[in-house]
């Protein structure tokens, strides 16, 4: 099965139409889609997991880290001042805010030093593994939550897919996120994340069109409309808040 899924993932990445059609028509389309999504998400997070565990197991010098953040802030303000003078109160307030966090950091440091029934490194490994295994669930939640709205619009646009076909097919969108494996690489990781997102959206549209047996244009409409509706609602909410605040201010 894993070999078959690997093949499916590769074909999905290359937008091979036949592979999408075969996958959408498969009796276990949802199971296959979900397994692929979970595997890709886990594989994409392996390097981050190792980096995080190693980072957390290494003894940290809090003072050095605070100093590093302060130096970073100073460099940031210097860069900002290249574009214009910053009000001194702004800088002062920023530093004061940062220093106000110090007692909190100290509490965190002391709590981290407290003993636990099992040795500390086991706790570090388990908590990182817990976060690692939570990743597929958080991806599933976002994907299913958004797909519910896409499914509704696809149906209204004449889509013919069953719920399993629609979800199983669109689960392929996760395949490019295998690039997340390079996420910890500075700069490159972020850029590849953006590439994976755009690539994933394109796969989502293609899969939606194939599963529903309608045009790519309709698939784009079904994919984009929920986001547009959310955006309009959010803007309306903000405008409402603004009007409310202005009315209160006026009163």
């Amino acid at each position: 099965m894993i070999r078959e899924l690997f093949q499916l993932g590769r074909d999905a990445l290359l937008f091979r139409h036949e592979a999408y059609v075969r996958h959408a028509a498969h009796a276990d389309v949802l199971k296959r889609g979900l397994v692929l999504l979970v595997l890709v998400t886990l594989l994409g997070g392996v390097v981050s997991l190792v980096v995080d565990i190693v980072g957390d197991l290494r003894p940290t010098d809090i003072e050095a880290e605070i100093e590093q953040v302060e130096e970073g802030l100073q460099a940031f303000f210097q860069n900002m001042e290249a574009f214009g003078d910053l009000p001194p109160e702004f800088k002062k307030g920023f530093y004061q805010g940062f220093r106000a966090m110090r007692p909190g950091i100290e509490i965190g440091r002391r709590v981290a030093e407290l003993t636990t029934p099992l040795p500390k490194p086991i706790g570090v490994i388990l908590s990182n593994l817990g976060g690692f295994f939570s990743r597929p669930f958080s991806r599933l939640a976002g994907w299913i939550g958004y797909s519910l709205w896409v499914m509704l619009i696809a149906k209204l646009l004449g889509g013919r897919a069953t719920i399993s076909q629609m979800l199983g097919a669109t689960a392929l969108y996760a395949t490019p996120h295998i690039l997340d494996v390079l996420k910890p690489v500075p700069c490159l990781g972020g850029m590849l994340g953006l590439v994976a997102t755009v690539w994933g959206i394109a796969i989502y549209v293609k899969a939606l069109a194939v599963a529903n047996e309608f045009s790519v244009g309709r698939a784009i409409a079904a994919t984009v409309l929920p986001a547009l509706v959310f955006l309009v609602l959010a803007l309306m909410g903000l405008a409402g808040l603004l009007v409310f605040a202005l009315a209160l201010g006026g009163a």
């Binding site: 509490i107 669930f137 958080s138 599933l140």
Partner: protein
């Protein structure tokens, strides 16, 4: 038991055949009840394992409480006001009240809550299954559905299958989040569509109307609570 587990596994992947098999079962309600209770008990027991591992890798909460209080007492604002005994007493009191709530809210492992879940989760799942099933059945019949109440309850019991995702919480610090709830909604849609032989539009309406009704009931109670609160605390008198 084996059949129930197979049905739940297939229902999780939204296989209409499993919902149809449950609908056509002669004792759908009893099987449904057994399935929901079984899933709930299994999830709660497995959660206890996860909680135990989290407890074993977390410092004693009494030590954490001590460190946090000492940390607060070292803060500038506290030092400025600590000469006032009333202030010291009030901070201590508020801190102790807060400490009863916040660690639980932020996920501190608690054996008491995990143990209580073995009783409360089956009760909660069975009750929500039954209430949802009855209300959804009423709406489904209004929309021209063909299934009877026993068939609706049997089919919608399979919609508890996504709770199986929570079995993953045997692993400490793992968060399943809202995915099980959303997935349950999908399963309920397939259950009602299959049980009442609906087309997608009516199935969707029958699935969502109980949620809409619940939202209306909650909003009505909130409004009523607000009015009663205003009358009691605002000093007003009913006309």
């Amino acid at each position: 038991m084996k059949t129930l587990i197979r049905l739940a596994w297939e229902a999780l992947f939204l296989k209409e055949e499993s919902y149809a098999e449950m609908r056509d079962s002669p004792n759908a309600v009893l099987r449904g009840l057994a399935l929901v209770a079984l899933i709930a008990v299994a999830v709660a027991l497995v959660g206890l394992v996860g909680t135990t591992l989290e407890w074993a890798t977390t410092p004693d909460m009494r030590d954490v409480q001590k460190v946090v209080l000492e940390g607060i007492q070292q803060m500038d604002w506290y030092k400025e006001l600590e000469s006032n005994p009333e202030f010291r007493e009030q901070v201590q009191r508020q801190f102790e009240i807060g400490w009863r709530i916040f660690p639980q809210v932020f996920g501190a492992p608690s054996f008491a809550s995990a143990g209580l879940r073995i009783i409360l989760l089956p009760l909660h799942l069975v009750l929500t299954w039954f209430l949802y099933g009855v209300v959804a059945h009423l709406f489904a019949r209004m929309l021209g559905g063909q299934g009877n109440l026993g068939q609706t309850l049997g089919s919608t019991a399979l919609a508890a299958a996504p709770q199986l995702l929570n079995l993953a919480t045997f692993f400490p610090y793992l968060v399943v989040g809202g995915v099980a709830g959303t997935w349950m909604l999908l399963c309920r849609y397939v259950a009602l569509k299959t049980c009442h032989r609906f087309r997608w539009g009516r199935a969707l309406a029958a699935t969502l109307l109980p949620y809409a009704l619940l939202a209306m009931v909650v909003a009505s109670f909130a409004c009523l609570g607000g009015v009663v609160g205003a009358l009691i605390f605002g000093g007003g008198t009913p006309q």
